[in-house]
Symmetry: C2
Subunit: 340 residues, 2 copies
DNA sequence: GCTTTTCACGTAAACGTTTACGACATATAG
DNA sequence: CTATATGTCGTAAACGTTTACGTGAAAAGC
């Protein structure tokens, strides 16, 4: 591995001149530039980013913390981040904090020691401990997720209440009234459950506790389990809003076993719109989140913050409903009993 | 951000002593150790990895090149890599070489400039250009993938011929004889198509060109398209080996539209055994690849190479068949015409 | 009690860059 | 022709560590 000194020697100039040429600043003749460039090519010299970083205080590297690696959801975000980051000349170090806990702190320390230029934290919420740490790190941090707001730090998120509202409104527009929901079990009040409730109220449908069920996860298995539970609790529903695609697929499987046809007996609208939404039978009508774009935006924000040194605004991304085959119209006449 | 000097000053010792304590070497009294540790804690000093790397020639960072980010397949591999890497104290930089091409070269350069300790390259094959470059980088490189062998570099792979053989053998064991395949269209001879053919031959079933179809991709859409094509070319098959889960799901969708029931009319065995295999209806019987473990193994190999300085052996990972619901037994009596 | 070993440190060079400063030569202005 | 500006370069300090080497004191050996 050659250093700038080797190049300088070979080109018969000082290292300062080589440096100037490499960083193309001014202060040299065309003649010497040629010589130096030739030497660089011949030795195929690559500047040492460590030495550069040491003096410039820029590593052109950001860290991404994401829980539950495997999740397709996080992957889309990560993809967006990586894409944008590399466009801006940033490398990304991934830290998968699988079992949320002590590991995260370790990762933050590593990122700090490596002097990353910024950090993106994916996840529902930010523990106080982590917040304190990143604050002391004094690098740009942006939050990327779907759940709680932490307005002490810039974030890119979606409005879960509005999303749930849209989803349920869509079902209502299709003629459904007895609408179930598989929500996520949180400590505090659930934004999505809120939106669900609000949509019902705004359309003069009375809220029925039995029609909402709280899952402990977002996976396929949770879908089959909690859909069964939902149908047990509220057998008369004609539609359901399910807060992840995987769960929705699980619900379809469960429905299949229960002899319930989707969408003929019960319509399903899901959340996220990942690849799998397009692969199930029937294809899922879903609220689509611009995950890739969210990742890009997060990367853009850290980049901006790195450049300007001042905190960025938070962004709330728009969602949209993409209609496929898991929701069907319920004619007013048949609303009573029959399937559509 | 405090440096070792600040700590030294605060503890009234030299920076050398601080360094020794931080790296816990010998050469100081318990007394001074206490003092220094106290100073470190008070300033919450974190050593600068750049400066360390500069002098130690170790960055404790590896790079991972992976094409087609989005793919769940690559994600499993990446997950394994990340897991093991962090266990060994290595950070991982991801480089998604989406559009295979010029981007890869850029990434390699970046990794080189950042002086990563090792590189893992995920992908079917290694272009000559990249090979030359990584050779010049003179860092441990391991190949991770499923396709071609490149025995100039250590790799972790699976034996695709054996896998195809197993898959087809499994179908034969279940009583099938007219077996189709959706293979991947490659320039050279396909290992998987080879295994398919061999399994037939070994069981005295004549190979029929019409029963094999070559896809240009591995995605859902390819599955629906090429399954349709397959059924047009060879309407009499009772089973098919399809080389990706997503394609298999696509095939089921296509079958559904064609009025073909899986597995009653045609059985399907797929490849990879990703999460989606468990989520389709019917659940897919599949050849399971230990992707996570493959990732771990790859990371382990680079780590080993970093430590010892000598190249590692290549590994071929074992596969297994996990039986679910997409393959059914064909009784000898009914082999002629009826479904099972 | 004197030499030798051991221990606890400090000094300074090195890692590979960037960059402020100064030196010298040439061009420009008066 | 002198004074000044401009352009091309080199020297050396700095970034934050690690580590070889040296120093002095205390401990050990005789």
């Amino acid at each position: 591995m050659h250093t700038i000194k080797d190049v300088a020697k070979k080109a018969n100039v000082s290292i300062a001149t080589v440096s100037r040429i490499v960083n193309n600043q001014s202060g040299y003749s065309e003649e010497t530039k040629r010589k130096v460039l030739a030497a660089i090519k011949e030795l195929n010299y690559q500047p040492n980013a460590l030495a550069r970083g040491l003096i410039n205080k820029r590593t052109h590297t950001i860290g991404v913390l994401l829980p539950h690696f495997i999740n397709a959801f996080g992957m889309e975000l990560l993809h967006g981040i990586e894409e944008k980051a590399h466009e801006e000349g940033l490398s990304v170090i991934i830290c998968s904090t699988d079992s949320f806990g002590a590991k995260t702190m370790k990762y933050l320390q590593v990122l700090n020691e490596k002097r990353v230029d910024g950090v993106i934290i994916i996840g529902p919420k930010l523990e106080e401990e982590y917040y304190d740490y990143v604050k002391r790190m004094a690098v740009p941090v942006v939050l990327l997720g779907t759940e709680k707001f932490d307005n002490r730090l810039p974030s890119v998120q979606v409005d879960n209440r509005a999303i749930a509202y849209s989803a349920v409104k869509h079902l209502i527009d299709k003629g459904h009234e007895r609408i179930g929901m598989i929500a996520f079990h949180e400590n505090g009040p659930s934004l999505r459950a809120d939106g669900y409730r609000k949509a019902l109220e705004d359309n003069d449908i009375i809220f029925n506790q039995e029609r909402i069920v709280f899952s402990s996860g977002f996976a396929f298995e949770d879908g089959v389990h909690f859909f069964r539970k939902l149908m047990l609790q509220a057998p008369d529903i004609t539609a359901a809003y399910i807060i992840s695609d995987e769960m929705a697929v699980g619900a379809i499987t469960a429905a299949d076993r229960l002899g319930i046809k989707v969408p003929h007996d019960v319509s399903i609208i899901s959340h996220d719109n990942l690849r799998v939404a397009d692969m199930s039978i029937p294809k899922l009508t879903a609220v689509s989140l611009p995950l890739r774009r969210m990742g890009r935006t997060a990367a853009e924000k850290v980049f901006q913050m790195i450049q300007t040194g001042r905190p960025s605004e938070s962004s709330i991304m728009q969602h949209e409903i993409v209609e496929r085959d898991s929701v069907c119209m319920l004619a007013k006449a048949v609303r009573a009993k029959q399937p559509c």
